[in-house]
Amino acid sequence: MRIVRLIARDELRLMLRNRVALIAFALIVLLTLVAVASSWSHQRGVAELRERHQHEAEHAFDAQPDRHPHRMVHYGHFIFRPLSPLAAFDPGVDAFTGNSMFLEGHRQNSPNFGDVRQSSLLIRFGQLTPAFVLQIVAPLLLIFLGFGSLARETERGTLRLLMLQGASRRQVVAGKLLALGGVALAAAAPAMLGLLVIAGQPGALGLPMLVIALGYLLYLGLWVVLILLVSAWVRRSRDALLVLVALWAVTTVLLPRAVPDLASGAVPLQNRLQTDVAIGRDLRRMGDSHNPDDPHFAQFKQALLDRYHVKRVEDLPVNYKGLLALEGERLTSELFDRYAAQSFAAQARQNGLVNAAGLLSPAIALRGLSMAAAGTDFAAHRRFLEQAEVYRYALVQRLNRMQAQDVSYADDTATDAGADRRKRIGGAHWRAIPDFHFIAPTDATLARAALPGLAILSLWLIAALALLGLATRRLGARR
């Protein structure tokens, strides 16, 4: 152990003497700090803005005057997606998903006003966040610091000297691992510190943060092992550098872009127009509430009349138009759900393909893990959309029930001058409707979603360690 520590200390001293390495290290620390600060303040600003808008929207809804309930169905409601506290560490798809949604009757709207459509083209180059720095920049720094650690010793023949003095191959490699691992820890420290700061926020979850920390440490550890592996395998340090930079470029820059493109080509998504037209077609097949001769609605009406033992809808104790609205909304929402489920399934298949590519690129595995644990991945977005739809349906049906119970059929169908007044019900009704509350996922849910990524990274690390073991055995052998 003493020898291992000596070798590690010697390697670190060499790195410290290298001015360029020192400057690069200082720069990455600075970059991480800037990323933590800017990402945190940006996310806080976004969160506050959304909260303010949400508040305004709720206030506006509650402040609506006496109205016909169906007017409120069309007045609708705006909801804003709350940010996960860990979005400051890894905002994931947040900028791409649109953050406000208009909920109304008969329609399922898309979330709008995503940041990506409101930003300069620079946003497509990536966002400066702690996750970005650790995923992309940190491995390159480690490569620059470590590519020569073993190749240099074999190239210059110093490895033989070390071994003559009694150090085994294993001890040499272990010492270098220790040194570069220490550097990796130091490089990750500012981001981890940022994570701790974020942890101090209300609502931050412990378990996912632990998983994130573990994931990034595994990832950086993997790069340390890969760097030593290549450095041990290749005879000259310049070849080691070229191979490592190529490996980095392919796994962190090329594959993360190319694989999603292939996945979206392999699993096509239906566009909005196709979906809307298909929903319209299915609705006509199910029944047309406007058509008095429509079989579905004729049956619906007859069943109602039978239930209340009356002959005409005018004699029903409830407002037939409200019941019709309830039934219509039930039918359309059923279709919305079915088509949304299809679209979600297709997108999940695309993401499944991308995540499987984590076997080819640890950066992809880490990105998935990080977004999943931070609650900023597609699954988190879908969680919001599904809760929004549940809320929309409950809201609209509640209003439709008000129309059925609190507005009489006679008033509802009247067209005389005073009818408009009689159709309205009190504004207190709107104030009684509960606000939308996003139910945040539990820490176990988030942590579980990150497990596949964690497993893939562990596999990578085990494989790389095994290969490094092999490479260690033939280190310095004449070839």
Binding site: A60, P111, G114, L122, L128, D261, G265, A417
Partner: protein
């Protein structure tokens, strides 16, 4: 000429260099392929509009002809608009993956419709597209670095530099030849597949030449940088490390920092505020005297002021009028929102003057008409079309003219080439 051929033979013997060039050509072809496939998919989606649209409008017509009510026709008819990809779009998909290229609108308030998005998978869009622009902007510099980082230092380290400098037609001429040869090969690996793809897609020849020029210029920038670093007479390893770090800074770090700076410096009043405000005005109309709504509407539409007065019944002319009033009430907000978006976009492009990576991306997306400017132009076409739609329906709704199947056929159709 023989000297050039000789250099080529020397280069061919470097297995790594040949491999790198072949790989770059392969990546270029793959990126062009995915870009063309995506554009073909978008074209197919646009080509599929008319039958879907005919089916949908047919159903609305079946319902409306029973009452011949023009108001119902206006309310229930969604009209398709689309933004066909420009010939060059395959090379730089820009915003076409996150902004809709098909949008259906109806004659009601446009501000509640125009910001709608299409279905897209955010996790797929997040890393950006794998298109030709990506290969050129992000990957090509890495190949330049691989081929040029040891151009001189490699010979020096092999102990041949003095001899090469002393050769007749050696020295500067030799380095120029070697640089020129590598530049031409890199350019060919990127430019030839691009030119073929552009020819297939029918891109105008001057645009192709311009892009080929941009490729040369961008390669020259990186070659120049490599030469500058080479002059420091460091080892090949140090050169490679320095150039890779420069790549990281110029292509990834500075643009992302720039994004932070621009977001800070130019706040964009959130678009959501427009939607919130428009809804208030529209729905408030139910609570104020209908005459007030009509007066306000006629002030901006005097040509309709002679239409018959409103009765006590619900009338679609009032409904359409307050939707239009809602749009007009938020017009200043809309202008401010758009101006802020354009300011952000301009600032992003301004970065392109100092950062070649951003400059090339901005130029390619501009030429390919896939940038924000193209998005806003599409919105303008939608606005113009919406204006035509409204005036068409107003002609029937305001004067209670019956609306039959012929009228459905006569409704305005969106024209992608003309202004709506």
């Amino acid at each position: 000429m023989t000297l050039w051929r000789h250099e080529l033979r020397l280069l061919q013997r470097q297995r790594l260099s040949v491999l790198a060039l072949a790989l770059l050509a392969l990546l270029t072809i793959a990126a062009l392929g995915t870009g063309m496939a995506e554009v073909a998919r978008q074209r197919a989606a646009i080509a599929a509009i008319p039958p879907a649209q005919a089916e949908d409008i047919g159903a609305v017509a079946d319902y409306v002809v029973r009452t011949r009510d023009a108001g119902s026709a206006a309310y229930y008819s969604f009209h398709a608009t689309w933004d066909a990809p420009a010939p060059l779009a395959f090379s730089a998909l820009g915003m076409r993956d996150v902004a809709p290229y098909i949008l259906r609108v109806r004659a009601l308030g446009l501000e509640a419709q125009i910001y709608d998005g299409d279905t897209f998978n955010p996790e797929v869009a997040l890393p950006g597209r794998f298109d030709f622009a990506f290969v050129l902007v992000f990957l090509a510099p890495l190949f330049v670095i691989a081929l040029f980082h040891d151009l001189v230092s490699g010979e020096r380290e092999a102990g041949r530099q003095r001899m090469l400098d002393a050769l007749p037609r050696g020295g500067a001429a030799l380095w120029r030849r070697r640089t020129g040869l590598r530049l031409i090969l890199l350019w060919a690996a990127l430019g030839l597949p691009f030119a073929v793809a552009a020819a297939v897609e029918g891109v105008a020849i001057d645009v192709v030449l311009l892009v080929l020029g941009v490729i040369v210029a961008y390669l020259l920038f990186w070659i120049g940088l490599a030469a500058l670093v080479g002059r420091l007479r460091w080892s090949s390893v140090a050169n490679a490390a320095t150039l890779a770090a420069a790549w990281l800074v110029l292509v990834l770090i500075v643009p992302t920092l720039g994004n932070v700076v621009i977001d800070r410096a130019i706040p964009v009043g959130q678009g959501a505020e427009i939607a919130l405000a428009q809804r208030e005005v529209v729905n408030h109309a139910w609570d104020i005297p209908r005459e007030a709504t009509m007066r306000r509407f006629y002030a901006t539409h005097p040509e309709l002021a002679d239409s018959p007065p409103l009765g006590s019944d619900f009338h679609y002319k009032w409904y359409l009028a307050f939707h239009q009033n809602g749009d007009e009430s938020v017009a200043p907000k809309v202008r401010a929102y758009r101006a802020a978006l354009e300011r952000r976009d301009r600032a992003g492009r301004a970065f392109g003057w100092v950062l070649p990576s951003v400059g090339v991306q901005a130029l390619l997306t501009r030429l390919a008409r896939t940038d924000l400017t193209a998005q806003l132009a599409y919105q303008d076409r939608i606005r113009a079309f919406h204006a035509r739609l409204r005036s068409f329906y107003y002609g029937y709704v305001f004067y209670d003219r019956p609306f039959g199947r012929d009228e459905f056929r006569r409704a305005p159709r969106f024209d992608d080439r003309a202004g709506g």
